[in-house]
Amino acid sequence: MADLNTLTLSELSDKLAAGECRSVDIVNDVLACIEERDGRIGAYLTLDRASALEQAQAADAARAAGACHPMLGIPVAIKDLINVKGQPCTCSSKILEGYVAPYDATVVSRLRAAGAVLLGRVNMDEFAMGSSTENAALGKTSNPWNLDHVPGGSSGGSAASVAADEAVCSLGSDTGGSIRQPAAFCGCVGVKPTYGRVSRYGLTAFASSLDQIGPISKTVRDSAILLDTICGHDPMDSSSIDLPATAFAAQLGSDPSLSGMKLGLPKEYFVEGMDPEVEKAVRDAVEHCRGLGAEIVDVSLPNAKYAIAVYYIIATAEASANLARFDGIRYGLRIDGKDPIELYGRTRAAGFGPEVKRRIILGTYVLSSGYYDAYYLKAQKVRTLIRDDFAEAFRQCDAILAPVTPTAAYRKGEKTSDPLKMYLDDILTTPINLAGNCALSVPCGFASNGMPVGLQIIGDAFNEEAILRVGHAYEQTTGWHRQRPEW
């Protein structure tokens, strides 16, 4: 049996359950693929082959002993900012080079409990700060569809590994679009769950009030399976919400009808400067959904235009405090000095990359005495307005359809010299994090340069069911998600 790595999670799950393959076979195929391709892709920062095979053997033994779970024996790539006990967790930063996590994140404990195979650590923008994985300090990642193009970011390694069949699925994190945008750039499915849906315990914090862990996979159903596995209340995370157990995957039927559903189309989301090819792909997808029986209604998100400004104040403010702990005292890089202040200065100067420094400085500034009211406090107020916009929109529809990004994946180096230009690319994803609701990205076509385009399906808080349903129906009746890069 060959090329098990090209199958979807649910296909593999069925095969495992039917005894048609073993976890060890899947992991071997995945490892062989990584061996063959990752020199070109650069998705992985670290990979412990022996451990992956051991976990696969354990999963096979557990299955033989009667265990069953859709994730049992399925290999998962983990973004390098989620702690896995005994594995490095560098956040692709020099300041954490050599750091080995002493504990499991809650999502990791849940994957272990389900019997998933923790495959390895995948690349990202340093501390999740970036949209192209070009800010990674410890590796370079390419887009599997075209190696000269960026995979998106910050979860670039998570998306690239799945697109290249180097992982069956992966975990990413989304603070302002960091799951949806790379998923769109790499032709994968990615879900940013509602804030509070998935525990953040063990997720190295970038911006605590915006961060969520979520799945990147080959299909909507696969993401639903992964989301079912990792979500749920966690007493270790005060921001996680105690809700009844989910059955997202089980709720996805085979009937692709969307009749009875109202889907909103926000006029503000087709922004100036948007690539016409992207706009066309998304508008085609909207029409497709209409064809499936959905009623398309116009909605308005008037304050979405402030999202970038608000996001880069709140996210950097929180980051300036969250990243203060990387000081060379207890773990990670240390460059000594004559006193603690000099030690901090030298360690952080050498350990953080330019984008991280830029954001720490920005965040420190907006919180400073005399500026707090004008920046941070004002931003929080506008954040409330953005949230209210969504609340109003969801009184009129069940889900919102929109592009994920203004353009498809661009060439490496194209935007690195202009950070602001790269920030503006987050215009369509950051409002969702600021509002705290959920959204997913599903492939909906290709630009003329051959790069994938993503459709963003935005849902109300804790209504993942709706966006998964729409995404699944769309996917079942289109073939975009089945297209793979050629090797």
Binding site: N83, A205, S238, S239, A317, S320, A321, P340, L367, S369
Partner: protein
């Protein structure tokens, strides 16, 4: 010119929560360094804080004991500063919405009752302990993240005596309330002292000088005295007092500049996104209020009004919670409050101070003291014999009744035995008899002494006196 000092205190008190503020690590004083730590209190990547409900309860109860209003909505903030004692390089504290608001403390200072206003109490986490050694510094994170509340007074005190009385009262209340042991040696109670001086009659306060982190009441007293004198000297010399943070050099008894206003930290407070705001219902506050223990002032009043003890006794008994608790326990076994009080204030405290032990460790338990008092009240032994029994039990242990029997300490009230000793004393001391009959009442005491001597102290003094009077007056 006449000057007036104004003093405000920020008192940090470590609560008896057992576990830390935001993780489940235990807090044990004196444990081997860095043995009570976890990813949360060490500030590891990805670790998140979770609220310790016991700390919230104890902070609110402290507030209720001090007459504060409990804020129905309070929140958490990050206070940012870099120092190795703070693992995350920010402290989770409460900036503008603390748990407790307002309040006051009534204290006696130099014989007059004064009321000191409390501005707020907020909850935060403690820092780690730094030890500076040759060639570097060591950090022990066992204390990092332990529950710490800060009680902020209004600038309402005017002398070292005021501050001392305030702190003593605060300590007593926290101990009584079960909030904290306030063991200053263990750093469980530390104060920052704000001192300013202005000419009498001036409306605005003078420049504020903060003296940081003192745990000894004696040092606080010295520091305040020094600082008031220093500031007055500066003003008298035509200078201006600089707003700054100063430390106290205990060896020299002086304060010294640590940080000037220009170097003051910008803590960049902002709401802590990892913790939800705390909402406390009126019902919860009432439940906590119902659980509050009696405070020393209330106990003291009750000892006078219900137990009939003199003010003095009530004051001594309630000044130390352990002593007062011991007294309360003894009162569950006897009704004779004055006798218990006498034994505690006399024998017990004297013997304890000789040994340097705590009342809770005494071999004389509340039950045993009650037994001794019962023997005295039943006239089985004299009061002086009772004191002897107390001392024996204190030093050697044992059951009072058994000791009385074994040592033959029971007093004799039997008339026939007493009559023999009385007749003998009258026969042998005709001079005293003569004096008594001539009207010198005191002469009977000599005869009484003779009877007690003959009985080897066992004669019941009351019965002897009665018998002597009977015989002499006949």
């Amino acid at each position: 010119m006449e000057y007036e000092a104004t003093i405000g205190l920020e008192t940090h008190i470590m609560q008896k929560t057992g576990t830390k503020m935001f993780c489940s690590c235990r807090h044990e004083y004196g444990a081997a360094p860095n043995t009570h730590v976890c990813p949360v209190c060490l500030g590891y990547p990805g670790a998140l804080p979770v609220l310790n409900e016991k700390a919230i309860e104890l902070c609110c109860k402290a507030g209720l004991l001090l007459g504060c209003a409990i804020n129905p909505y309070s929140k958490w903030d990050r206070k940012n500063y870099f120092y190795p004692d703070m693992a995350k390089n920010y402290q989770i504290s409460q900036y503008d919405q603390p748990l407790c608001l307002g309040g006051q403390l009534e204290v006696e200072v130099d014989g007059a009752m004064k009321t000191f206003a409390i501005e707020r109490i907020h909850q935060e986490e403690n820092a780690a302990k730094n030890t500076h050694v040759a060639g570097g510094s060591l950090v022990d994170y066992n204390r990092a993240g332990t529950a710490l509340m800060e009680i902020v007074s209004e600038p309402c005190m005017h002398s070292a005596a005021d501050a001392l009385a305030y702190m003593n009262a605060l300590k007593q209340i926290m101990q009584y309330g079960g909030i904290s042991d306030c063991d200053q040696e263990k750093g469980q109670m530390r104060s920052d002292v704000n001192v300013s001086v202005r000419p009498v009659g001036q409306k605005e306060l003078g420049a504020k000088v903060e003296i940081k982190n003192m745990n000894s009441f004696a040092f606080i007293e010295q520091a305040i005295g020094y600082e008031i004198d220093r500031q007055i000297a500066v003003l008298e010399g035509g200078g201006r007092v600089a707003q700054e943070t100063r430390g106290f050099d205990a060896d020299r008894g002086e304060t010294f500049t640590q940080r000037t206003k220009e170097d003051a930290h910008d803590y960049r407070y902002f709401p802590e996104p990892d913790l939800m705001p705390v909402k406390i219902s009126a019902e919860q506050v009432e439940r906590w209020r119902a659980e509050l223990p009696e405070l020393p002032a209330q106990r003291r009043a009750r000892y006078v009004s219900e137990l009939g003890l003199p003010e003095y006794d009530a004051g001594v008994l309630t000044s130390d919670k352990a002593v007062s608790d011991w007294f309360e326990e003894a009162m569950r076994h006897t009704d004779n409050a004055k006798a218990v009080s006498n034994f505690i204030m006399g024998e017990m405290l004297r013997l304890l101070s000789g040994q340097g032990t705590a009342i809770s460790e005494s071999q004389v338990t509340p039950e045993k003291l009650a037994a001794i008092i019962a023997l005295i009240d039943a006239k089985t032994i004299s009061t002086s014999a009772g004191k002897q029994v107390f001392e024996i039990v204190f030093n050697e242990g044992g059951d009072p009744k058994t000791i009385v029997e074994a040592k033959g300490m029971a007093q004799v009230s039997d008339d026939s035995a007493l009559e023999g000793w009385a007749d003998e004393a009258i026969a042998n001391n005709p001079k005293s008899v003569e004096e008594y009959k001539a009207g010198k009442q005191g002469a009977i005491n000599f005869l009484m002494g003779q009877v007690m001597k003959a009985s080897k102290g066992k004669a019941n003094p009351g019965a002897v006196m009665q018998m002597l009077k009977q015989k002499l007056d006949a």
